[in-house]
Amino acid sequence: MKMGEIRALQQADISAVAELFQRILRKTSQPATHALETYLTGLFIEAPDRDPEIGSLVHVLDDGRVSGFIGVMPLPMLAEGRSVRAAVCGSLMVDNHADDPFAGARLMRAFLSGPQDVTLTETANDISTAMWRKLRATVLPDYSLEWLRIIRPAGFVAEMATKAVGAARLLSPLARPIDSLIRRGEPGPRWSSLAAAIPEETLPSVDADDETTATLLTKWTEGYAVRPLWQPENLHQMVAEASSKALYGEMVRRVVMTRDGRPLGLFLYHGDPGRIGRVMQILAAPGRIGETIDSMLAHASERGMLALRGRTQPVLLNAMLGRRFAFFHTSSSVVHARDPTLLEPFLAGKAFFNGFAGESWSRLIGDRFD
């Protein structure tokens, strides 16, 4: 009879966790590399904001094998002026999940019984969302949608077909002339494309380095009722790591500038020209998010992107309405707090959550470890 135990992650577990990651989350039979093991150690054992009481857990079978893992990253936050301990949870994985449903349930329950004030996850699939709900967590619809903005419709369709059937990439050359026609104003799905000429009022943007990005992230999250309380050195490390997502493509990180040279917004996405870019963060000075989005779309269009996609935040949702964005759902952003007053800012859209205040900055999402 299987019993097993839940305990804190130890360095000796890392190679087993790396193998689980490859097999369950990356769905590959390739063995885990030393680079992956090193990264997991840095993220979960030597975490930037490590807290001796809040950490990752493993499920260990009676024979000593690690069969389950829940990855936890402590995140100090400021809620309505007071410091709270938050924990971002991701990478829930259990070997042979169907035959051992106890492991996942025990991992989540043990994690939620920890000392953190707020628990967050932004990548809950349908199964784990159902589990979170049973543990009285709250799904946040405004933070749980994926947005999609198509820039070159024919190219986008060809790219999506390629993902379904590899040979369809042969169609891609045909997409470019079709998109050119659409962008010149020929009959076509105007709702989704950008005009070839960028409107004159669109604000320019310039490349942003790590230092500028970290500074602006801190500055433009200060207005939120709940926000991360990043230590500068930790935020720098996160910003640097977020630049590397080889599976998604090259990083584009730009600061949108006013005509007189003041920073007004920031956007960060990964994607090579001719592909669909994945936006990790959009941030702006109060009231300027719409102009930031317009500048980002203009830059992406000039760079030859087919489309951009990303995760919603309430402030983005408002600005995206009327700008020809589509929305769909793939995973949920979830919050759990024993104190209901800590939930209120999340439900009211006044919490900065997702992106750098989540897990998407991590190299586990979108990077290679060859």
Partner: protein
């Protein structure tokens, strides 16, 4: 008392995991896992039910098949826990 516990547990399982369909016999010793009646979400649901209905505190080490994989095991577990509380 054990029969009363079993009855409440059976009712909960039929309503929540079999969607009210009690046409198929559900034996006291039948494995809920091997019958594919309960997944991870179901385990959490079951644990919440036991805590709320019977007032038992479920420690992590309690959430194992030996205690929760059949109606008989669950009833025996609840009875043991209740004795501890009463004692």
């Amino acid at each position: 008392m054990p029969d009363a516990i079993k009855s409440q547990i059976r009712t909960f399982i039929v309503e929540n995991f079999l969607f009210g369909d009690d046409s198929t016999p559900l034996g006291d010793e039948q494995s809920l896992i091997e019958s594919d009646m309960v997944d991870s979400t179901g385990i959490l649901e079951l644990v919440s039910f036991l805590e709320e209905r019977f007032g038992v505190a479920m420690a992590d080490a309690d959430i194992v098949p030996a205690n929760l994989d059949s109606i008989a095991r669950i009833a025996a577990f609840v009875a043991r826990k209740s004795e501890v509380v009463a004692g």
